[in-house]
Amino acid sequence: MARVLIVAEHDGSSVLQSTAKCVACAAQMEPEAVDVVVFAGDPDSAARLGGQAAGIEGVTRVLAIADPANAHAVAAVLAPQIVDTAREYSHVLGPSTTFGKDLMPRVAALLGVGQISDIMAVEAPYRFRRPAYAGNVIETVECEPDGMLVGTVRAASYRPSPAASSPAPIEQRETSADLPRHTLFVELKAQQADRPDLQTASRVVAGGRAFGSAENFALVEQLAEKLGAAVGASRAAVDAGYASNDLQVGQTGKVIAPDLYVALGISGAIQHLTGIKDARTIVAVNRDPEAPIFEIADIGLVADVFEAVPALIAALEQRRR
């Protein structure tokens, strides 16, 4: 029987959806218990964030650990505390976001166990499916059902576990682990947050190299605005400075699964496509009819983005009336 510990991801004020997705993944492991550990900088935040985690359907118990050292998620600081807590579990899970990717392997190595990255499906408590080679192959991996296992959960493969009808109990715990002082959080330069979040948005409009400048990239934002969509970008667009790094979609950016993905002036390199494979409907606008993006697009339009995007905005306005 699996006893699962999930490391909650939060931004200081809210527990992120990635946590409820981990709970959804854990539910496939025939779990005997699904506990969530929440790290916070002070008891108030621990209670508030712990409360949010306790409100996720499928959670057995929340462990809230408040310590000034936990004010920011520093992997080297959190990992020994997780190891301290992890002994009684068979599975320790975190999300496959930059938070979990940074943290979980450190936990695994301290525990002396291996990690399965990017779990996309659970076939049995010790048998998983995961993508490799930029999503061009899917591996089924298994291990002996005795030891402990660390894993990260591919967010695009899971719907968040819903709200619970009654909250799980919360236990305040203290840290007994020896916390290192060799790593100092300095600051987070967050991007402006007036758009829907790329990772959770149901619609995403993304632009590529075709736009040629940050000024022109505003066209992508305008269409996104019209559709109530988040903005995404190809690596080429990010590298060229048209869009910020946190908007990159793909193998090394964000892997997303919106209902609608609109790719504007993006060629469709495999490293980009791996980030959008789970989108329900893919729309592509590109002036090159041979662009690989058309091979996977549900709706394709061969056109110049500088003409097509304003025309799309006009057509959407027309439709509203």
């Binding site: 992997a75 080297a76 930059t98 392997p105 060799h182 910020s244 090394t252 996977i296 959407l316």
Partner: protein, 253 residues
């Protein structure tokens, strides 16, 4: 301060070149690598480039490239030497290791080399595991700064900018430390022919894995490898109006 050379260790993996479209092999337990172009993992090239720039700025004395793999991997280490690394270490093993075993092996190398900085790619583009650097940092008990887009050394510490989901995070880490590289850290240099010739004379040590006392046993078994379901080509429309109509028809608006 001691007089020991300020050394940077760069870890390099040999992978199927990123331009190759991989195919599942007949046994369905791996991908076809016979006759396929192999290269240095792109993130590791970025790691090496960064190490070379740090040395060129005078903040390091020596750059060592290291790989844990079969004798074929010498080819990628030679590429690293041609880019400008001073010497190379191949820990030779006939079987491919899981990230934890690679990290344990690299930890043994770190013990021998005593680097002030270890640079790795954030992920190898074959397994896409994104684990080894973090595991090495844990085993070594040293700081980690993953997904770096900027590294500035100053005395006994480094300021690293990291590409995280919410934007850019800045960390100060004491040295020695482990840093893994993201794509925007730099653009690797091209290797010129004279350097390739020169690289043939640079030292490349081969250490059998057995000498390092690492338990390289596998914990995981890949039982099946398959291609993901293909998304078929959809419909083609001619105008923006038709596109909006098609979206309406699908009920996505």
């Amino acid at each position: 301060m001691t007089d020991a050379p300020r050394r940077i260790l760069v870890c390099i993996k040999r992978v199927v070149d990123y331009n190759v479209r991989v195919r599942v092999d007949n046994e369905r337990t791996g991908v076809v690598t016979d006759g396929v172009k192999m290269s240095v993992n792109p993130f590791d090239e970025i790691a090496l480039e960064e190490a070379l720039r740090i040395r060129e700025r005078g903040d390091a004395d020596e750059v060592v490239v290291c790989a844990v793999g079969s004798s074929d991997w010498q080819q990628q280490l030679r590429t690293g030497l041609a880019m400008g690394a001073d010497r190379a270490v191949l820990v030779e093993t006939g079987t491919s290791l899981e990230p934890l075993a690679v990290a344990q092996t690299l930890h043994a190398v770190v013990q021998r080399e005593a680097p002030m900085l270890v640079l790795l790619g954030k992920q190898a583009i074959d397994g896409d595991n994104n684990q080894t650097g973090q595991m090495l940092a844990a085993l070594w008990g040293r700081p980690q700064a993953t997904f770096a887009s900027s590294i500035v050394l100053s005395g006994e510490s480094a300021r690293v900018e990291r590409e995280v989901d919410a934007g850019l995070e800045v960390l100060d880490v004491d040295l020695p430390a482990v840093v893994t590289t993201d794509l925007r850290l730099n653009e690797p240099r091209y290797v010129k022919l004279p350097e390739i010739l020169k690289a043939k004379r640079k030292p490349l040590d081969v250490v059998p894995l057995g000498e390092l006392g690492v338990d390289a046993g596998r914990r995981f078994r890949v039982v099946r490898v398959e291609e993901p379901p293909r998304r078929g080509r959809g419909i083609q429309v001619d105008t923006a109006e038709q596109l909006v109509a098609a979206l309406d028809e699908k009920g996505v608006l």
